[in-house]
C-alpha cells in the first residue's frame, strides 16, 4: 500500500488521473469497479449527494457517469474506460459519505462493463499514480484524512 501525505494508494488497483479526475479502478473479470481516490474524497470533504447515471447507460471514456456534491466541491465522475454502466453502489443512497470513510471499499461508485478492454492498459499503476499525485498534493495542499463512518 503506497502512502503519500497520508493518502493511500492500494497496489492492487489501477488509477485514472486526468485533470480533476482522480479515480481508481478494480478489474473483476469482465467488469470493473470504479471509485474516487483518497485525495479526491479528502478534497471534496463530506460528500452529501451522489447521483449515478442509470444502469444500461453507455459512456465513452471521459464522459460523466456520476456527479458528486459536497459542501465545498461539486463535479463529475468521468468514465475511466468506455463501456456500459451496470450498477450504482446502493450504499451511497443511504450514506454518500461512505466514500469519505472507506473510498476503496464500501465507498465504490459504480460497476461498468468495458467495451474496449485495451483501455485498461492505459490506466496507471499505484506507483505511477503516486508519482503523478506527488505534485498535485503539494500544489493543492492536500493531506488525506478519512471521516468516521456515520453508521459504523
Amino acid at each position: 500500500m503506497g502512502n503519500l501525505n497520508g493518502c493511500e494508494f492500494p497496489e492492487e488497483l489501477r488509477y485514472y488521473v486526468e485533470r480533476a479526475q482522480w479515480l481508481w479502478i478494480r478489474a473483476e473479470g469482465m467488469v470493473v469497479r470504479v471509485g474516487v481516490t483518497d485525495p479526491a474524497q479528502t478534497r471534496a470533504g463530506r460528500i452529501l449527494v451522489v447521483r449515478v447515471k442509470p444502469a444500461g447507460t453507455f459512456r465513452e471514456r471521459g464522459r460523466p457517469i456520476a456527479s458528486i456534491e459536497s459542501g465545498k466541491w461539486a463535479g463529475p465522475v468521468m468514465a475511466p474506460v468506455s463501456g456500459e454502466l451496470l450498477e450504482a453502489n446502493p450504499e451511497l443512497e443511504k450514506d454518500p459519505s461512505v466514500i469519505n470513510s472507506d473510498p476503496y471499499g464500501k465507498g465504490w461508485v459504480a460497476r461498468m462493463r468495458p467495451s474496449h478492454a485495451e483501455q485498461l492498459n492505459d490506466l496507471l499503476s499505484a506507483a505511477t499514480a503516486q508519482e503523478r499525485f506527488r505534485g498535485i498534493l503539494e500544489r493543492e495542499g492536500i493531506h488525506c484524512h478519512r471521516l468516521a463512518p456515520r453508521n459504523p
Binding site: R19, A20, V49, V50, R51, V52, K53, P54, R63, P64, A66, S67, I68, E69, K72, W73, A74, G75, P76, A88, N89, P90, L92, E93, P96
Partner: protein, 132 residues
C-alpha cells in the same frame, strides 16, 4: 441513480444560463454560481455563466486567488471547479470595458467577451436562467 430523493437525472440536451452580477464588492455572493455551474455541467446540462456589471473582475487573471472566502480558501477553487467541469464563461463587453475599465487581455484564458446580443441568444436558447 443513487439520490432518489432529488428526482431522476435531467434529460440530455438541456441548457442553463447563470447570470453573475456580483463582483469582489460582494464576495459572499460569488462562489455559489461557480459551484452550481460545476454541478450542473457535471450532470451534462450545457451550462453557461454570463458575467456582467462588476462580476467580470472575478475573471481577471490571478484575481480569484486573492479573494478569500469566509469558509476558507479562495474563490479560485470554485472558478477552477467550474472550468474543470466544462462550464462556458462569457463576460459582457460593456461591463468589461466601460464599467470595470478592463482590457479583454486581462481576463483569464477561455473567457469569451461578448455583447448583449449574445446574452439575448443565450437566454432564449436556455431551458432555465438563474441570476445571482
Amino acid at each position: 441513480m443513487t439520490d432518489r430523493s432529488e428526482g431522476p437525472p435531467p434529460p440530455l440536451g438541456k441548457k442553463i444560463l447563470i447570470l453573475v452580477t456580483s463582483g469582489p464588492e460582494e464576495l459572499d455572493k460569488t462562489y455559489a454560481p461557480f459551484f452550481i455551474a460545476a454541478l450542473m455541467s457535471s450532470m451534462e446540462i450545457e451550462t453557461s455563466l454570463y458575467f456582467l456589471m462588476h462580476a467580470p473582475e472575478l475573471l481577471v487573471t490571478g484575481a480569484a486567488e486573492k479573494l478569500p472566502l469566509k469558509r476558507g480558501g479562495t474563490l479560485e477553487r470554485f472558478v477552477q471547479m467550474a472550468i474543470d467541469s466544462g462550464v462556458t464563461m462569457y463576460a459582457c463587453t460593456e461591463s468589461v470595458h466601460d464599467l470595470c475599465g478592463l482590457e479583454t487581455s486581462a481576463l483569464r484564458a477561455g473567457v469569451k467577451v461578448v455583447g448583449s446580443t449574445t446574452l439575448a441568444d443565450l437566454a432564449l436558447e436556455a431551458d432555465s436562467v438563474l441570476s445571482f
